[in-house]
Symmetry: C2
Subunit: 197 residues, 2 copies
DNA sequence: ACAAGGGGTAAACGACCGTTAACCAGCCTG
DNA sequence: CAGGCTGGTTAACGGTCGTTTACCCCTTGT
């Protein structure tokens, strides 16, 4: 799990810790996992983590801001690269689906543990998330006829749909990707028709 | 928030506590809210809760089992009352949408705090959830041509879509219900086409 | 050769928090 | 009017857990 570790390349200890923590946070929740658990997961024990992070809160903070940045950056890039609005939307869906399938732990943590962030960290993450939603909202408005509040709600709904992936490991990766992409696009294009019926 | 309190009728103190706890758990997570917080939310303080519940875990347990029971019971009832498979699926969607819109806190807790349950409670809740999923899976297989694993994954995806409702309060209740219903049905009917493409 | 520092350890500290104990006020019943 | 539930209260206990401290090894550059 956790995005493929680049090549055979040794990832820095920080990243190793972050990956292990993400997995644990996803499974047991932020408060449900102790500093000792995280240490044990990477073969060191307990307080050694403080050689790499200022606090447990800092781990979650760094984890969530980095997810949000990657999501925003990747999404924006794909929209910019798309020739027209319709393919931009498709690219966004595929991007988010790939992300969710490759990093289910990170997605889960981002969905569930926003509340456990420190106040400044939460502000930062929320700002990034808002910008990401904004990317979706404009892509939606440009490709399907829909008012802005509906577009916003539809975006959140599709996030929920795609992010549900950690809960169902019944299909293999490619089938799952195809299914989620199809469902997401279907729901989005329908969202436009008779928007304010 | 929290399902309409029947009529003007006074709800029992237990239910009052459960409602307040649900709201708090949804907002801050199970471990993020203290026994004192829950007490304060209903005007009593701290340990008085132990006159009504055996433990904090017991509150969560009762909360989640009751949600799961209501969900299953209501879903099954609607399927039984439906004349054919297609309307059964529509009824399921509407049922789940209504539930999510009327009890956003409960839905949120059920999605996020399964891991915080005690082992026996978790087994109970999971069993109920499995049966609920089963209701959806059979309804799906009878109305759209789709293999079972795909139906299962699609059901989870639609739960994610509908349960996203707490994150977006941009639309009023009826518009939101219409939007979610439309999106859910669109994604589901599309899930069947070329299922194992 | 050696000082420096990065990265690890185990032990102690301190706060928080779920739970229990001891106590008490009102109400309803006999 | 006595006496026992019912449902509160505050204070104390105990465990868990994040964090700090003190110590140590091993590597590396001078």
């Amino acid at each position: 799990m956790g995005a493929v570790p680049a090549d055979g390349v040794k990832q820095t200890r920080r990243d190793q810790i972050l990956d292990a923590a993400a997995e644990l946070f996803a499974r047991h929740g932020f408060h449900g996992v102790g500093i000792d658990d995280i240490g044990a997961a990477v073969g060191i024990s307990g307080p050694a983590l403080y050689r790499h992070f200022r606090s447990k809160d800092a781990m979650l903070g760094e984890m969530l801001t980095s997810i949000s940045e990657r999501l925003l950056e990747g999404g924006q890039a794909r929209v910019d690269a798309a020739p027209d609005a319709a393919t931009a939307l498709q690219a966004l869906v595929r991007w988010h689906v790939d992300f969710a399938l490759d990093d289910p732990a990170l997605i889960t943590v981002q969905m569930r543990n926003l509340a456990n962030l420190t106040d400044p960290d939460r502000r930062r993450v929320r700002a990034l998330q808002r910008r990401y939603v904004e990317v979706w909202v404009t892509a939606l408005q440009e490709s399907v006829a829909v008012d802005e509040p509906t577009a916003r709600a539809a975006a959140h709904a599709v996030f929920g749909l795609i992010n549900s992936t950690p809960h169902s490991a019944h299909l293999d990766r490619d089938q799952m990707a195809a299914l989620l992409t199809r469902m997401a696009l279907a729901s989005l294009t329908t969202a436009g028709v008779l928007a304010t019926a």
